[in-house]
């Protein structure tokens, strides 16, 4: 069974989003997604400062098996990317909700989070 933390929001394309106390949103991919991909070997994150729109392709995960696009769950500015994934892409497999976050967004409209799935809805969708 996949691990689906209750405190996160989810896109049907398997990205998770976490609203931080400072109003920023951290984004990664779900346990289910990493399981589908298999061993991750490269992660290409968006540039810091890039404006992204919800639904836009903004990152790529390459596993041994396949390349997979990552979509922006909400709109806003990319304010940080996880440099640790450059040297340790395998974190995506071992710590999908922890150390293997992909990037942080300063949302242009935080209410977009409400359009994402909650844990129960995501669990039912996969």
């Amino acid at each position: 069974m996949s691990n689906i933390p209750a405190d996160l929001r989810y896109a049907s394309s398997h990205e998770w989003s976490r609203l931080e106390s400072d109003g920023t949103v951290t984004v990664g991919i779900t346990d289910h997604a990493q399981d589908l991909l298999g061993d991750v070997v490269f992660v290409e994150c968006p540039d810091v400062g890039r404006q992204i729109t919800a639904g836009e392709e903004c990152a790529v995960v390459e596993s041994v098996k396949a390349a997979s696009d990552i979509y922006a769950p909400i709109s806003g500015e990319v304010i940080a990317v996880n440099e640790a994934l450059t040297d340790s892409p395998e974190l995506v497999n071992s710590e999908p909700y922890g150390e293997a976050w992909f990037f942080k967004i300063k949302p242009s409209d935080a209410s977009e989070l409400d359009k994402l799935l909650d844990a129960d809805a995501y669990g039912a969708a996969i």
Binding site: G38, V41, F42, E44, V60, E62, V64, A66, A67
Partner: protein, 363 residues
């Protein structure tokens, strides 16, 4: 209902992620395909390859039949147990399948791919009509590939004394029978190792014994990255019925001599050779952080275009490598470009072999 090998329960017990492979329920990996890959390069791993098709060819005309059926020449097999790799071609010189054939006491043993079983057997039976031969499929046999630098040592530790003695004497690319088993010093990984055929009923206990001796189960995922690093073709990706062995780095498997030997596809291959019109298969190496994949376009400046036939991230090398079919004037050592998601990335053109016996063979 998918087909299952006698080791299906072992795969489930080891946490195997089961996928469909040519109609068979087979393990893709048992957790991490990268770890399984390293296990084989550095130590020893085992693969269930019981889905592969084993056919014994016997009868007074067994040699004549195989000399006609295959592009390589079984007359080259001089001593008992010697094996050779060959393409089985159609009249147009396309590859119906690639296979290994062993010289046995009463004929030959042929091992063909699982996904092509039906068409292979149809073709082999059709060609057999004009020869005094009997084809016997040995579907009661399981097959376990034990591969890696410690494969011989670990396999010897869990078999009968007679089998252990046989394993010690086996030369590379030789396979011999012992007490209902058949042990070949062959494989599909670029490492030393064995492929062991044994009665299906005995397979689970043997697998469990190997497991207890430190041999880790490895799935189809690692099998693919290992063979690709070793520059070995995968049927259906790197060649098929529309591809000549001359265009698939299999020229060395065509026995042109003796010139009077007629084999299926010979006329077509001769015409191709004279015309000099076949593309060639090369290796590609990418130094950027991306992964080469099958069907990506290859652009060789001033020469023309080609296509990747199989590509992957190489766990041993830490970057991506691929096999590609490119115009024949492409020069080994030159550079080319590969189109990946709309971007053109530089790759180096190399001989199609990247890793052997745990060591990089590309610079």
């Amino acid at each position: 209902m998918a087909l299952r090998t006698p080791l299906y329960e072992q795969h489930l017990a080891a946490g195997g992620k089961i996928v469909d492979f040519g109609g068979w329920d087979m393990p893709l990996n048992y957790g991490s395909q990268l770890e399984e890959h390293h296990q084989v390069r550095r130590d020893v791993g085992m693969f269930d390859v019981s889905h592969m098709t084993v056919v014994d060819v016997t009868g007074t005309e067994a040699q004549n039949y195989l000399q006609y059926l295959l592009a390589n020449d079984v007359a080259r097999l001089k001593s008992s147990g010697k094996a050779l790799y060959s393409g089985m071609l159609n009249e147009q010189g396309g590859v119906i399948d690639d296979l290994i054939v062993y010289l046995t006491v009463d004929g030959y043993r042929v091992v063909v791919n699982a996904a092509t079983r039906e068409k292979d057997l149809d073709w082999m039976n059709r060609q057999a009509e004009s020869f005094a031969v009997t084809l016997t499929e040995r579907s009661e046999l399981a097959m376990i590939a034990v591969q890696g630098p410690r494969a011989i040592e670990v396999a010897r530790s869990v078999v009968t004394d007679a089998c252990a003695a046989l394993i010690s004497d086996l030369k590379p690319f030789q396979g011999l029978p012992e007490g209902g088993w058949f042990i070949g010093r062959t494989g599909y990984t670029g490492e030393d190792g064995l492929e062991i055929m044994l009665p299906g009923a005995a397979a689970p206990a043997f697998w469990d014994a190997l497991l207890a001796a430190g041999c880790k189960p490895c799935g189809l995922g690692a099998r693919d990255t290992l063979r690709l690093e070793a520059g070995m073709n995968l049927y259906g990706s790197d060649m098929d019925e529309s591809i000549s062995p001359l265009a698939a780095n299999m020229a060395w498997t065509i026995a042109w001599e003796p010139a009077e030997r007629d084999f299926i596809g010979r006329a077509a291959l001769t015409a191709q050779k004279e015309a000099g019109d076949q593309p060639k298969q090369v290796g590609l190496v990418l130094s950027e952080r991306a992964v080469l994949r099958g069907h990506q376009k290859v652009i060789v400046e001033g020469v023309g275009e080609g296509e990747i036939t199989s590509g992957t991230f190489s766990p041993t090398l830490g970057y991506s490598v691929a096999l590609a079919r490119v115009p024949r004037d492409t020069v080994i050592g030159s550079s080319a470009k590969v189109e990946i998601r709309g971007k053109q990335l530089d790759v180096r053109v190399v001989k199609p072999c990247f890793v052997r016996n745990g060591q990089a063979v590309v610079e």
